[in-house]
């Protein structure tokens, strides 16, 4: 029987729009560590928007179709059984589409109708497994093998791991989670903690791992988003963290932008740095700051990495 390690050695890669825009460093570092870990990413050609929140709010069935097209391409064009989406929004939407296609006749009807009109194979639930970048490393490499790849390590860097809300909610679209053993927890996720601990970090106990960052509120009420983010940044600092590790482009951008805004609007300064977990893993494996796109982050963490002797 094929193990997850075998299955995840080569996966279809779905970066989504954020990783080609504001989250470019996440894309750069994901590809860089894939190369180091000898994991093959086969980017899906001609991928489309997952439906994000905009489409979903207008017509959830159209969102299901959009995500199903990505899954169909992964299966039929990229010829993969596993699709890896590092963006929480994309990951969430592909999982939601999978759930809807398995459980709702209406979703199946809409997807069939539009797919036929668009002249591509109709995606059927179960044809492809959707995973997050955290699953990909946790099981495609595993902690023991990852430990062997660590060179300088993170040298006790104090990290608050922030997962955001879409990685675990709603829990019924993630049937593989909360299964005990080595499965992920929806109330206290730990995969990022596990990987960064292997890389030499000191994870702090962080009470706001899945707290809302106000992402959906940024345009309608920026001040409330700033307050929510400032509170998360302050909680990370109160927990003793030097860095907040992220795995969601929306959260990452929100934390970086509102950290600056909190200083400007509320005169509240926080110094905790915001870094993608893939960037941290890359640094721990001996990659340079530029190779993992550290200089592209808004939150300037280069000096901290030098001070800590990590680069």
């Amino acid at each position: 029987m094929q193990t997850r390690k075998d299955k995840y050695k080569q996966v279809a890669y779905y970066p989504g729009c954020a990783l080609e825009g504001t989250a470019q460093p996440y894309n750069t570092s994901t590809k860089a560590i894939a190369k180091e870990l000898q994991l093959e990413l086969k980017e899906i050609d001609n991928w489309n928007c997952c439906g994000a929140m905009e489409v979903k709010n207008i017509d959830p069935e159209i969102q299901t179709y959009l995500s199903s097209r990505v899954l169909s391409l992964a299966k039929n064009e990229t010829k993969q059984d596993v699709v890896m989406a590092p963006c929480n929004g994309c990951y969430h939407n592909l999982k939601k589409a999978e759930y809807d296609l398995e459980n709702k006749q209406k979703s199946r009807d809409v997807v069939e109708k539009i797919s036929k009109k668009a002249e591509h194979p109709v995606y059927e639930a179960g044809e492809v497994e959707t995973i997050h970048a955290l699953d990909w490393i946790k099981f495609g490499i595993g902690e023991d093998e990852l430990r062997q790849k660590i060179k300088g390590g993170l040298k006790g860097l104090k990290i608050a791991n922030y997962y955001g809300c879409m990685y675990t909610r709603p829990r019924h679209i993630f049937p593989e989670k909360d299964q005990g053993g080595n499965s992920e927890s929806t109330s206290k996720p730990h995969y990022m903690d596990d990987l960064l601990e292997v890389a030499g970090a000191e994870n702090v106990e962080f009470a706001m791992k899945t707290a809302c960052c106000g992402g959906a509120h940024t345009l309608s009420d920026s001040d409330m988003s700033t307050k929510l983010v400032l509170n998360i940044l302050q909680a990370a600092e109160a927990a003793g963290a030097e860095v907040i590790a992220t795995e969601c482009p929306t959260c990452h951008s929100g934390l970086e932008m509102h950290q600056i805004r909190a200083l400007k609007k509320l005169s509240k300064q926080t110094n905790v740095k915001v870094i993608y977990f893939t960037q941290l893993l890359g640094l721990a494996m001996g990659l340079g700051p530029r190779e993992v796109g550290l200089h592209e982050n808004v939150s300037d963490s280069v000096n901290l990495m030098f001070d800590k002797g990590i680069v």
Binding site: C165, R169, S187, M208
Partner: protein, 138 residues
């Protein structure tokens, strides 16, 4: 019952580290009052029942009924209870001051999150989106 602005102000005050259990109880009650604000704004009578021994968890459950995006603050409420328990069990612990400060931040998160949701009910939709399937699960 204090409104959300009053609760935000109340959370600015210094906590008494000499009586951590009292301070933790105060913060837990602030969390309950935040939930009450949400329920009353939705024309629901806040429950006096307990869930897992805590009213705030029962209030959260009541608030999320028919409005699954409210679950975006479920873990925050649970963390508030968790920290309360830690302080209650061992008030003299070295970490008590830090735990109290974390409770303060958690209670503040509830104030901001629910203030946001009262202005724009869609807050939380992005995260626990997929509304149709969520409604089904409830």
């Amino acid at each position: 019952m204090r409104d959300l602005t009053q609760l935000e102000t109340a959370l600015e005050q210094e906590l008494n580290p000499d009586d951590p259990v009292q301070a933790a109880t105060f913060l837990l009650h602030v969390g309950e009052e935040v939930m009450e604000n949400w329920l009353l704004a939705r024309q629901k009578k806040p429950t006096d029942t307990l869930r897992e021994g805590f009213r705030i968890l029962a209030l959260h459950r009541q608030g999320a009924k028919g409005d699954p995006s409210f679950n975006a603050c479920r873990e925050t409420a649970r963390e508030l209870v968790y920290h309360y328990n830690l302080i209650r069990l061992d008030p003299g612990h070295d970490e008590t001051v830090r735990r109290l400060s974390m409770m303060q931040l958690l209670a503040r998160h509830l104030v901001f999150f629910i203030s946001g949701k009262l202005q724009e009910a869609g807050l939380g939709e992005f995260c626990c989106a997929s509304k149709p399937s969520r409604l089904k699960s409830n």
